[in-house]
Subunit: 391 residues, 2 copies
């Protein structure tokens, strides 16, 4: 009997909206995303505690919005509030909390889970939603720079297990993403800045023009200029979405260009016990791999200097004690990050380095001694504020 | 700022092989599925305890096969044996067992989990594999008629939670499926017969010619004739795969034609505390919905008679005490199955009925009183062996 060859072609569509004041009753975006001519849509809101702290009126606004648009929205219960940050991905109880609500409130594959929060909350809720009834509809409202320009617009979710970041997760395109720029107004400086690391990342591997914009706008961005931030957010989301649809959306290969700087970033988050936030760790990871690219002769000194310069001008620290190598380079704790990165993606180790600003290049090996030298270079750089000229 | 419209197009390919003696060293199918010119492939075997009981040499054969093909296969540990049947989907500990092994033995997105067993084991292992590292590669070796002609060749996985069948699960196309017909030789009569319910189902909604073949071969199939069984398996797998690629592979709509007879089947499994196996429950569900189709005037009496006839001739019982309705039709326990079915798939209730053999038709409402009458009709039919002429 001949084998039967199966080919399944699937298409996934969603829109990423940009707005202000999504829960103003006059804002019709959420209403229009939900309305489809059928009955009222059952909605379950899950909200990041940090957003509630920053936006004290949020829960009341959600309630008022659902009331004003009751012809379309059926809010099945009060919003469920969960902690923000990595803690929500580290304990299985939060995934269970969302699944319990999906079960109790009869959320089906045509109902909606609406997640409002930073990347960690969106990742956790996304995992719970994608695995309930083989996937209920998810609308993401990212509340941080990092989530609005990067993870929140993509197709991944995940939680941590066995001390490994995103060990559990799936690929699951959202039903829609709504970037409400007002959420950014109340962010702490750390969270405002954190997301800019991903902007530097995507510019470095894909778009020299965006990198130039980041350089000329670095002072404005560090000073919380909203015009510059909105441009950067939009362009990053665009680059991110283009990347996903263009190549290997569900990562069947071994390459993951958007994870430039992330092998070290992920490991540093863990080594610092999550004292570093994701964006802060990624900034160091970018600096480390840019320095490595420079030390092996791939990247020119002036370009390296511009990269380190823009990160420092945005306000990132580029060194933490966890980068110290006490003894032999082969026993350097950071190097476990390479193994874990390879294991998570699978296949051959594939790391993005830079051969120029806007031009990534993949390699399959990194030299431990040069990684240690890269870290030492970052230590010497210290924390002194500097522009590209000063490096 | 205009919304960004995202469209992701993805293609998934896999082959379904039919063979005998997959672990004979001379059989090169598994070797060729794994080999891709790269290094040795890391493989983790998970085996259904029931298969080990039936095939006492299986674990030794796997070991010998891996040894003989060590140039391609790296078996990371001894096969992990898990219980067969619904128990393996009811407790989270088996999912954890598989995930633990994926973690400990470094199974990455380019490594392989190879699941050998009945539908329940394949569903559970599939869920664990699909959610580890956002999906490691899964090769399914279905060991039962039911799994070889139906669930094992498809794109779903799942485990039970909150007492609800497949509450947790994902859509995840396998890397390959290998149907080893030798596994069927040692099945119990119940398991041999059980899978034929899905064959009757797919014939009734899609292929009158296959139904005719099932009628003329019913005695041979009931007597464990392998020639008839092989033809039926192949044709059912073909119909199943065509259905998946043709319409809505990941079930974004509310229609699920292949679940003809399953709303009642799933509920009867639960109401009988899994005393009924899946195929046995589905046979009753098919008979119930065929009878309902007849009672509302959709299906002719002779066609209804042929359907009930073939199920009885294959050896299925078409009545269990759990079908009894003690009081009011509105309080009939079986009806919860309709609600749960709707909730799992989402949107409007959509049930497949029959307007003829080979011709399904979808409805959005079922009348409780007529369901009770359908069950009463099945009770009257009793268990007497009968051919289509005798009904």
């Amino acid at each position: 009997m001949n084998p039967i060859q199966q080919t399944i072609r699937a298409e996934f569509r969603y829109a990423v909206y940009f707005t202000r004041g999504i829960f103003d009753s006059a804002n019709r975006i959420l209403r229009s995303v939900l309305a489809n001519g059928e009955a009222r849509q059952r909605c379950l809101f899950i909200v990041d505690e940090g957003v509630c702290t920053n936006e004290r009126r949020l829960l009341a606004q959600i309630d008022a919005y659902c009331h004003a648009h009751a012809a379309v929205i059926q809010n099945v219960t009060s919003p469920i509030v969960v902690p923000g940050g990595e803690i929500v991905k580290n304990s299985p109880k939060y995934v269970d909390l969302v699944r319990d609500a999906v079960n109790v409130y009869g959320i089906c594959r045509h109902s909606f889970v609406i997640a409002i929060g930073g990347g960690a909350v969106l990742d956790m809720v996304g995992y719970a939603a994608a695995t309930s009834h083989r996937g209920v509809r998810l609308i993401r409202l990212p509340s941080t720079v990092l989530a609005q320009n990067d993870s929140g617009v993509g197709v991944k979710n995940g939680v941590n297990q066995y001390g490994k970041k995103n060990f559990l997760g799936t690929f699951a395109p959202p039903f829609a993403v709504i970037n409400d720029l007002e959420f950014l107004d109340s962010l702490s400086d750390r969270d405002w800045r954190g997301g800019l690391a991903e902007a530097v990342k995507v510019a470095l591997i894909k778009d020299a023009v965006l990198f130039g914009y980041l350089e000329t706008s670095a002072a404005s961005l560090a000073g919380r200029g909203t015009v510059a931030m909105e441009y950067v957010l939009y362009r990053c989301a665009e680059l991110h979405l283009e990347h996903i649809r263009g190549s290997d959306p569900f990562e069947s290969g071994s390459s993951r260009p958007l994870d430039f700087g992330h092998w070290a970033g992920h490991k540093l988050e863990q080594l610092t016990g999550y004292r570093l936030r994701h964006g802060e760790a990624v900034a160091i990871g970018i600096a480390l791999d840019a320095t490595y690219s420079y030390l092996i002769g791939l990247l020119s000194q002036p370009e390296w200097s511009r990269i380190v310069g823009v990160l420092l001008e945005l306000g990132f620290s580029l060194y933490v004690p966890e980068l110290e190598c006490d003894g032999d380079a082969e026993n350097y704790a950071l190097l476990d990050g390479l193994t874990e990165f390879r294991e998570h993606l699978g296949g051959q180790l594939t790391i993005m380095l830079l051969e120029g600003i806007g031009h990534g290049v993949e390699v399959h090996h990194m030299d431990p001694v040069t990684i240690v030298r890269s870290a030492a270079t970052l230590r010497q750089l210290g924390r002194r504020p500097c522009t590209s000229r000063a490096v």
